[in-house]
Amino acid sequence: MRRIIVAKTMEEAYKARRDSAGAVYLTGGTEVLRLGGRADAGSTIIDISSFLPADISLDRDKNLVIGAAATFQDVIDSPLTPEWLRKACRYMASLSLRMQATVGGNIASLRDDSYLIPTLLAAGARLKTYGNRGFMEGSLQDYVSNGGSRYAILSVTVDRDACVASRRIARSSSTHSALNIALGRGRGFFAALKGSGILQGIEAINACEPVDDLTGSAGYKRYIIGQCAGLLSQEVEE
């Protein structure tokens, strides 16, 4: 049987997680509760959805602030959302999943076929998180570099006026992507490469040795990275 803790505050949630080895945070459920997810029988689930922000708003500098519990569809439906971010949210093909999956959950999972992370990195996204030092703010880039998982994400902030282009390469709409790559003007390339992880910067992408897997061979991935990079450069220039 699963142990369920419905936390009322971030502090309570963090303490529960610290005290329960292997415990997982739960918001939308599309990642944690799905087949092969981490919420198997016997696990401890800490539901943080009751206090996690889900609103989408602008801060004083007109940046877009997305509550971590906002769903993909919330982001798409918000009039504040720039089109490049809507596009990334639509990479999740299923409408019902988009209505359930949260932005924070997708980032926290750090998947190598992440729908959002490359685009958010390319937009210079910043995160508000909670961890062992309490509430913190920092870049998504650092969060990813540090492996992320020790922190709970509270919100994501992006520059609405960022110029971002992205491409998702997958055999079909609902399967894993071989490559999700984004380019932000002035920020460079970021990619989620299946089998390799999240890659930040063109040097990291070029240095990566792709692996053969269900989504394609290493040679194919290497080729497609080059092509997509070219197409994205063209798009951002235009």
Binding site: R2, L33, L35, A93, S96, M99, I169, Y220
Partner: protein, 957 residues
């Protein structure tokens, strides 16, 4: 205690708060909320409306429902009345096997409640949440349009399909499917809904090895566990050899297995069956079974199987029921007892000492001479991958004992074969077995095989307990029937004027561990393709190899989709080599009505085939109309220079059942009040076969559909039928219903003549249910006719019986056209247009026929571009789930998708009907492959045609 509102009613439940909401809702009676993917979050069968928004109930735990407002499809029904969206779905023909139809109805209702003027893109967004395998996606747009029309005008204004045969009232006209309401409402119509509380579960310990001997197995601890009723292994199962293909007896497949075998032959093969009081106990018992294996080097491909030093998948004793070769003793001199037996019912050209399960060889004319004298010859090898049927409802069975008999509730295409095989395994006569075919939540061929009923039935017979078994989705991938992977080499010769002079096909099929359909599936690669060509010189070599991949078996189309991929691609290659338009080549070499099909002589499923002339044939019309629709010969140019556009086509045929092998029977009864019950042996698997039977009765007996009920697929109530496979339903079961109704009609007239004191020849039937005298004008109602016949001085019940067996073929023909856009830089493929044109004779249910064409074409697009079971070097399937396996969703549907029925009247089918759906799996692969070549010059000769393969062909990396 969790409290929430369910469909407007307050619910308080003590169910475990950590259980999945889907399971809780099902336990609370919401049977419309299904699970097709073991909470993968892919298929959408479990979607509910949760606090006003769609949500996966499988990805939600019950505690989350506290205080929530939940709607399921049960909310759409008011008493016996379903809502306007559900009615529109039935009218549009999309309610077929319907496992997730209630969910789709709920989603579309939610859409229209929130956006009454929803357009195509809105509907597409909704459909993005659900996987639909049976009807395709196209007519869901029509369903929404119909629902909007009903809401706006109080009537439907759009036509759902063309109508055929003006002189008939029901045949060839759209009519709501007879089981449509129960299916779309989410009634308890599937096997899982019948399972009684307290039933035991059956769990199966499966092999981790692709091939191994079981050196020892110790089940003592498992058997001692409280709650375990039995553990069945090769040591204690019946010593009965059989095979799991549901085919007519004697079968053209070897009996090469028992319930459990000492040698396991694929990852996932049965090692032990545990019957326990619940799943938890069964799982614990499974952990307590100790097995020691002797692993063997696996055989994973045709090439592996053909190798000189290939390990033998079957090296047991070979026996023949008839036609044993003279050297059989010598052949068996060194057999290995641990391998068991392989028993052929009659010779199939098998040679298990070379891993060959079956073979066939033959032809007409002189192909070598044709090749020598031709202006051009092409030879190419095409490969097809292993693909999964993926019915939304997995394989499932619930069995119990009742009055000393074994009763099985099944999701099957072949109830009578289930009865025979289960009786054989249990060593009891068939009268002791009662099979009830419930509604089938998707079959597509895989439920032609008796994959779970054999063991589930035996478990009940052994223990006396009711037993429930349901495959997990992963088990569906590695312990279920799949499409045979094949390697097909085609050599084709032609002249400069476009005449094809010779065709040679070398078909090498991989049947996996057991020989289900090992002859018939590969044979279809030739027997359903070569007869389409009016070519004088044709030859085929077919060999099917055993291996250690997951089992292969029947899948809609059998071997024909693979044969067509090879032969129509090769024809395209030959046309290009000769500088001839492929369409001109097709038109020049396709058969016409009356052409004598000499090639069929050797293609008779293990016996001599009948040489017959081509009957009704709409292929030429389909080719010409399709070419016009797609503007054949005109080069489309994309505005984006990275994208190139190309066109391709395939001409196709299939069959309508197996003339000379199949038989169907039906009974039609006049009830005391003059209404009708038709008992059909046919198995309606969602395709509308029961509706065909009902329409036939309505048409001939001149009664309203409300006065006719159809009972089918119950082996106690109904007469024998070989089953729903090989496109037999309409032709065989339909003709049996027709003959039963005719018989009833003549008996009604005879009884009426007696009661009216007139000659039967002067009487006729008249709507709405009268016998009328042409001479006197007197009328006798069916009610009085039946009542008096059943009275104390009457002559007895009026019952008609019909049987159908034939040597005549009713072959459906067609042509599929594709227009694709291919990105030269990324290899991405978009199917811009797909036009499926088919001659189904008289389409009895035209709207259902169109949906079956859409559904089958989507399956075909799936195996062409996306689907592929991938095995590691040890034979383990590494993508045994929907996301990794890659089925096509609505986003993959062609942008412009049309199904067109070519009007041809057949001389043998009921009211001129032929089969419809299987043939529609044949066209996509060659049409799309040829279109890709036309677009970018890349000739990809293997399924699935991925961007990577295109780029590779283009030399990009």
């Amino acid at each position: 205690m969790i409290t929430f509102t369910l469909n407007g009613k307050r619910i308080e439940t003590e169910l475990d708060k950590d259980m999945r909401l889907r399971d809780a809702l099902y336990a609370l009676g919401c049977t419309s909320v299904r699970d097709s993917d073991d909470h993968e979050g892919f298929t959408g069968s479990d979607i509910i409306i949760f606090n006003g928004k769609p949500r996966s109930s499988n990805l939600t735990l019950l505690y989350k429902a506290e205080g929530a407002e939940i709607r399921t499809a049960e909310s759409l029904r008011n008493g016996r009345d379903i809502n306007w969206v559900q009615k529109a779905m039935i009218r549009a023909g999309v309610v077929q096997s319907a496992y997730n139809s209630p969910t789709v109805a709920l989603l579309l209702t939610w859409l229209l409640e929130n956006k009454p003027d929803a357009g195509r893109e809105d509907v597409k967004e909704i459909l993005s949440s659900v996987f639909i395998r049976d009807a395709g996606y196209e007519h869901f747009y029509l369903a929404v349009k119909l629902a909007q029309e009903m809401a706006r005008y109080g009537e439907y204004r759009s036509a759902v399909s063309p109508s055929f045969r003006e002189n008939l009232e029901y045949i060839g006209k759209p009519m709501d499917k007879v089981d449509g309401v129960s299916l779309v409402a989410g009634e308890k119509v599937y096997v899982e809904d019948k399972v009684e509380e307290g039933s035991c579960v059956l769990a199966i310990l499966r092999s981790p090895y692709a091939m191994a001997y079981i050196k020892s197995i110790d089940t003592s601890e498992a058997e001692a566990l409280e709650g375990v009723e039995a553990v069945i292994t090769y040591l204690n199962c019946p010593d009965i050899y059989y095979m799991q293909a549901g085919q007519g007896e004697p079968e053209p497949s070897p009996y090469d297995r028992r319930l459990f075998n000492r040698k396991v032959r694929h990852v996932g093969d049965r090692v032990a069956g545990i019957v326990a009081r619940d799943r938890k106990t069964a799982d614990r018992a499974m952990e307590l079974i100790r097995v020691e294996y002797e692993p063997l080097r696996p055989v994973l491909s045709v090439e592996d199987a053909m190798a000189v030093d290939a390990p033998l998948v079957h090296n047991g004793k070979v026996e023949y029921v008839s036609g044993a070769p003279d050297d059989l003793d010598e052949y068996n001199r060194n057999y290995d007892e641990r391998d068991g037996k392989v028993i052929y019912q009659f010779p199939l050209h098998g040679d298990i000492r070379h891993n060959i399960a079956a073979g066939a060889h033959g032809g007409i004319g002189d192909v070598e001479k044709a090749f020598r004298e031709a202006d051009a010859v092409v030879e190419a090898t095409y490969r097809t991958s292993q693909v999964q049927c993926t019915p939304l409802e997995p394989h499932v069975c619930w069995s119990k004992l009742e009055n000393g008999r074994l009763v099985l509730h099944c999701s099957t295409q072949v109830p009578y074969h289930v009865r025979r095989i289960v009786a054989k395994v249990c060593q009891i006569p068939e009268n002791k077995v009662h099979v009830i075919k419930e509604r089938v939540g998707g079959g597509y061929g895989s439920k032609q095989d008796i994959l779970v009923e054999d063991l589930c039935g035996y478990a009940t017979w052994l223990t006396g307990k009711p037993v429930y078994f349901r495959n997990s989705r992963a088990e569906e991938f590695y312990a279920n029937s799949t499409r045979h992977p094949m390697r097909l080499t085609v050599k084709m010769s032609g002249m400069k004027d476009g005449t094809i002079t010779g065709i040679y096909m070398d078909v090498r099929a991989n049947t996996g561990p057991y020989g289900n359909h090992c002859l018939t599936v590969p044979m279809n690669a030739s027997s359903k393709t070569l007869p389409l060509f009016a070519v004088q010189n044709m030859y085929y070599d077919l060999n099917t190899y055993y291996s250690n991949i997951p089992p292969a078996g029947a899948y809609q189309g059998y071997g024909a989709p693979k044969g067509y991929f090879a032969i129509m691609s090769c024809m395209d290659e030959l046309a290009h080599k000769l500088g001839v338009d492929p369409l001109e080549m097709a038109l020049k070499n396709v058969v016409d009505e009356g052409y004598m099909l000499e090639i069929l002589k050797g293609l008779g499923e293990g016996r001599e085939g009948a040489v017959v002339p081509v009957g009704s044939c709409g292929v030429r019309q389909a080719l010409l109309k399709g070419a016009e629709m797609i503007n054949w010969g005109h080069r489309e140019v994309s505005e984006d220079p990275d994208w190139a556009i190309g066109k391709g086509f395939a001409m196709i045929q299939q069959g309508s059942g197996l003339p000379g092998l199949d038989q169907s029977n039906a009974q039609c009864k006049l009830l005391p009040d003059g209404s009708i019950v038709l008992l059909s042996g046919g198995a309606d698997i969602g395709t509308g076969l029961d509706t065909i039977s009902a329409k036939i009765a309505c048409e001939l007996l001149k009664v309203d559909p409300s006065r006719v009920s159809v009972v089918s697929g119950d082996t106690d109530s109904c007469l024998f039928d070989t089953g729903a496979y090989a496109s037999s339903g309409t032709y065989f079961s339909g003709n049996a219903s027709l003959n039963a109704v005719r018989d009833l009609r003549s008996r009604m007239l005879a009884e009426a003549a007696r009661q009216m004191g007139e000659d039967a020849s002067g009487l006729d039937l008249e709507s709405p249910g009268y016998v009328v005298s042409g001479k006197t004008g007197k009328k006798l109602s069916y009610q009085k006719l039946s009542h008096d016949a059943l009275a104390g001085d009457g002559t007895g019940a009026i019952v008609g019986t019909g049987s159908f067996a034939t040597s005549n073929s009713a072959i459906p023909y067609g042509a599929h056209f594709a227009q694709v856009a291919v990105n030269r830089r990324t290899g991405e493929i978009r199917v811009q247009k797909f036009y499926a044109l088919q001659d189904a004779g008289t389409p009895i249910n035209p709207e259902l026929a169109l949906c079956q064409m859409y559904g089958a074409a989507m399956k075909s697009i799936g195996h062409t571009l996306y689907e592929d079971m991938v095995l590691d070097k040890n034979g383990r399937c590494i993508n045994a789930n929907f996301t990794d396996y890659c089925v096509p969703m609505v986003a993959e549907a062609p942008e412009d998708f049309k199904a067109v029925l070519i009007d041809v009247n057949d001389q043998y089918g009921p009211f001129g009907a032929k089969s419809i759906s299987e043939i529609a799996t044949n066209g996509a692969a060659p049409a799309i492959a040829n279109a890709i070549y036309d677009a970018v010059g890349a000739r990809v000769r293997s399924w699935p045609i991925t961007p990577e393969k295109i780029l590779h062909e283009l030399g990009k990396f």
